[in-house]
């Protein structure tokens, strides 16, 4: 019996009888993190990192049965040991280590190796086989240090503020928005948020993550937003919700902004390259540090990473999962 296999509902562990991030309702689901394409409803019971419980509860509703475990704590399912380790993706994101009879798998979920003030740092975990994501698995994706990106954001905000204009920054409401909030210079002006972002801010704050003061953008008088920063999910781009800010500059923060064509396709003034996924060097270093020989590659640039790994001594294959990879629009 294999320790992990791909079934129609998702990645399944036959001896332990559980799924990891299934895309259909199952009996027992282990969830790596709270983004919608990984944490789907309809399962009878959920297990996730204790930091993720509140997020999952908001997403899946109060009726969902969710059990939290701390990073590093091991739970047992009929002889299979399951341990969660920080994935560095967003608050509460975990890699899942599945171990039985001396053989171990690690399922990364989404991850990044760069430090992030709003979540625990990615922890490399030794294993025999590793399931990695591949959202940005091309060497054109090399991130600049986040401090540099935050200072670009600050410069943009500051110059808009000098012209009494509002700055609307699109960022995924769970994770990216909070990372930006913790990174920008709150001295520049007041910060407003969209309801979807503010709801997650509350969850982060209650868990003890330090964020600057934010106010929900409820006022409809454009003058009150002059010089402020507004953080909103990309979904509101082009909607009437934006009218309340009057003359504003818009920007989007996403790993896809690395490519000029992607920047130009979005009708925004600026694109900041900031991702919660690993870049090409990050993926390769994470894979190396696991010491794994077998690599399964999911969602994103699967083929190039699989080919590169196979040409460089790994035994890699692609996995057709239903996770999305469009960071700007779907889950990040």
């Amino acid at each position: 019996m294999p320790l992990l296999e791909l079934r129609p509902a998702g990645l399944y562990c036959p001896p332990g009888d559980f799924y990891i991030d299934p895309w259909k309702g199952v009996d027992r689901a282990i969830i790596t993190h709270g983004h919608a394409d990984h944490a789907r409803g309809g399962s009878n019971s959920y297990l996730c990192c204790s930091d993720s419980v509140a997020i999952l509860q908001t997403r899946l509703g109060p009726q969902a049965s969710i059990q939290g475990v701390a990073y590093g704590e091991t739970v047992h399912f009929s002889g299979v040991n399951v341990t969660l380790f920080p994935a560095g993706h967003i608050f509460g994101a975990a890699q899942v280590k599945v171990e039985s009879g001396g053989y171990s798998w690690v399922v990364s979920g989404d991850y990044k190796v760069e430090p992030d003030a709003t979540c625990a740092a990615f922890q490399p975990v030794r294993c025999h086989s590793f399931v990695t994501e591949a959202t940005f698995a091309l060497p054109i994706y090399r991130w600049r240090p986040s401090a540099e990106v935050f200072s670009q954001v600050n410069d943009w905000w500051r110059s808009n503020a000098a012209e009494k204009r509002a700055s609307v920054l699109y960022a995924y409401s769970l994770g990216k928005a909070q990372r930006l909030l913790s990174g920008v210079d709150a001295e520049i002006g007041p910060i407003y948020t969209h309801t979807a972002v503010e709801r997650i801010n509350e969850v982060y704050r209650q868990a003890g993550v330090l964020l600057p003061q934010t106010t929900q953008a409820l006022d409809s008088d454009a003058a009150s937003y002059a010089g402020s920063l507004i953080v909103a999910p990309p979904g509101v781009e082009g909607s009437t919700w934006l009218r309340r800010f009057g003359d504003c500059s818009t920007a989007i923060a996403s790993g896809w902004m690395q490519v000029r064509g992607q920047r130009r396709r979005r009708a925004v003034d600026r694109g900041f390259t900031l991702s919660d996924h690993a870049d090409w060097p990050g993926l390769l270093s994470a894979i190396r540090e696991t010491g794994a020989e077998t690599i399964w590659v999911t969602h994103g640039s699967i083929e190039p990473l699989v080919r590169w790994l196979n040409e460089n001594g790994w035994d890699a294959k692609g996995l057709a999962t239903q996770f999305t990879s469009d960071e700007a629009e779907a889950a990040e």
């Binding site: 054109i140 000029r260 009708a267």
Partner: protein, 522 residues
């Protein structure tokens, strides 16, 4: 390079024209003459010939990045732009940015590259990448590959130049038309406040027409209008001054030597004459299809065979200068009256007493090999650029055919990574034979929907091309149709584009090759 790359970034990161003009103005104000000259040259869309084939740039960039060629190709697929792919892949620079002026980079590095052996070219390029930061590297690669485009119109460049130099836009346009050389001397002449300087060879800026939307009746009294055929050729100015003849295309290219027939006709004109007209392929009293004329465009010195096959002539329709006097401010009726006295092939004035006459003339366009009719206000001066109100073009309805999407390829630039280049097929018995390629016509929403269909329905790949399940039907509009032994379908169409996504039709409802071929006879 620093300032020029910053200018590029500023232009690229805003969609507001006022911000673009302000950025260019600021650049021109601070730039030394030689840099300003080169910047003007590049901003207006002029390019230097690439010193080596682009495959070498791929190879060197892959080498510098330490990746195999296939991975470079994957990256290129995703980015959709060679210069950008190379800029993203090569390792970080040693320096913050380059303080060397743009002129240095172009004149001391780029231009001499052409004469160097390959090994030294490689050396120079690899070294240059280490001296430039990310955005400079991108701009530099764009300059090297001859693919530099900034998305500012000529009009915006002129507006910025005028703001920075206080020389009127029309004077700048005049001085810049033709073969403008980017030298400090040319820059000094460009911004000179002394404005009586039309050089012998220089054409006037072209006046362009606007497409007429809606009924022609809205233009008022038909007697106020000159009605002409809309010829489908190469718009050109013929200049006869001080014992010289020059022919200019609308693209600002001197094409004097390419059309010896037009040249010899022009020698018969009196000195101090400038004609505006359309160069056409002409044989047996009839205009030849544009596709024929196209074979002549690329040939700098046409040979006997092609001269015999596609003889060219200028169909003159306006007179901009006579006896050395600029007539552009005078009404068209006066200009036309003088033009009619000159030894030229005159684009005939069509007889129209009513708007119904105009409609009938327009309807006869296709059988005469023309694109429609032109309506020009008889009282109008000869303007600059595309202005509304005085010159209208009324084109005939395009041909249209319902065809099935059979192949797709990813786009470039703004459409990088999306499948936006499509091949369409029509039925030949029970097979779909490829008949046209089209890239434009869909909305962003439709593009996303088509892209997602293609990803889910790819049945086979040939390199970058995906064959998809033949299911989607599109109405393909096009302007012209011709027999072509080079195409599988036996025909070639001109300006194909997607007019409509026929979600109401199934693949079986698409047109057949017989229907398409029947259009050859209309």
């Amino acid at each position: 390079m620093k300032h020029f790359a910053e200018l590029y970034t500023a232009l690229d990161s805003t969609t507001k024209t006022s911000a673009k003009v302000a950025a260019m103005e600021a650049y021109f104000r601070q730039a030394p003459a030689s840099d300003a000259a080169w910047a003007t040259y590049f901003l207006r869309g002029e390019k230097l010939r690439s010193p080596f084939p682009s495959r070498l740039l791929r190879q060197w960039a892959a080498e510098a990045a330490g990746i195999p060629a296939w991975l470079f190709a994957e990256c290129y697929e995703s980015v959709g732009d060679l210069a950008e792919t190379a800029a993203l892949l090569v390792p970080e620079a040693e320096t913050e940015s380059s303080s060397l002026p743009l002129t240095e980079w172009v004149e001391q590095r780029l231009i001499p590259l052409r004469k160097l052996p390959e090994a030294e070219q490689r050396e120079t390029i690899l070294r240059s990448w280490q001296k430039l930061n990310a955005s400079e590297r991108f701009v530099w690669n764009k300059l090297i590959t001859g693919g530099f485009r900034v998305g500012v119109s000529e009009g915006l460049v002129l507006r910025a130049l005028a703001a920075a130099t206080e020389v009127p836009e029309s004077v700048l346009a005049h001085r810049l038309s033709g073969a403008w050389k980017p030298t400090p001397e040319a820059w000094a002449a460009l911004i000179s406040q002394e404005t009586a300087d039309a050089a012998v060879s220089q054409p006037y800026p072209f006046f362009l027409s606007h497409p007429l939307e809606g009924a022609a009746e809205q233009l008022g009294n038909v007697a106020d209008w000159l009605v002409e055929r809309k010829w489908d050729g190469i718009r050109a100015q013929v200049i006869r001054r001080k014992g010289e003849v020059h022919i200019w295309s609308r693209g600002g290219e001197q094409i004097t030597d390419r059309f010896p027939e037009v040249l010899s006709e022009a020698w018969r004109l009196p000195n101090g004459t400038v004609l505006d007209g359309e160069i056409l392929g002409w044989n047996d009293g009839r205009v030849l299809p544009f596709a024929d004329l196209q074979q002549r465009i690329a040939r700098r010195k046409p040979g006997k065979a092609i001269l015999a096959k596609v003889p060219a002539r200028l169909m003159a329709f306006d007179l901009l200068e006579a006896d050395g006097v600029d007539l552009r401010a005078r009404p068209l009726s006066e200009r036309r009256a003088i033009l009619e006295t000159l030894p030229v092939n005159l684009s005939p004035r069509l007889p129209a007493l009513t708007w119904d006459d105009v409609a009938a003339l327009r309807a006869s366009s296709r059988e005469l090999g023309t694109e429609g009719v032109m309506l020009k206000r008889l009282q109008s001066p000869y303007g600059v650029g595309r202005q509304r109100g005085d010159w209208w073009k009324s084109k005939i309805e395009p041909y249209s055919v319902d065809a099935v999407l059979i192949n797709a390829q990813r786009g470039h630039g703004r459409r990088a990574s999306l499948y936006t280049a499509y091949t369409f097929g029509v039925w030949d018995g029970d097979k779909l034979v490829p008949f046209a390629k089209a890239y434009s016509g869909l909305t962003d929403v439709e593009i996303r929907a088509a892209d997602s269909f293609i990803r889910r329905n790819t049945v086979e790949r040939f390199g970058p091309v995906c064959a998809v399940t033949p299911e989607l039907v599109f109405e393909i509009a096009f302007e012209g149709i011709q027999r072509s032994p080079r195409h599988k379908s036996g025909i070639a169409v001109r300006f194909p584009r997607m007019a409509r996504w026929r979600t109401d039709k199934k693949a079986a409802d698409a047109d057949t090759i017989e229907t398409v071929k029947a259009l050859l006879r209309t």
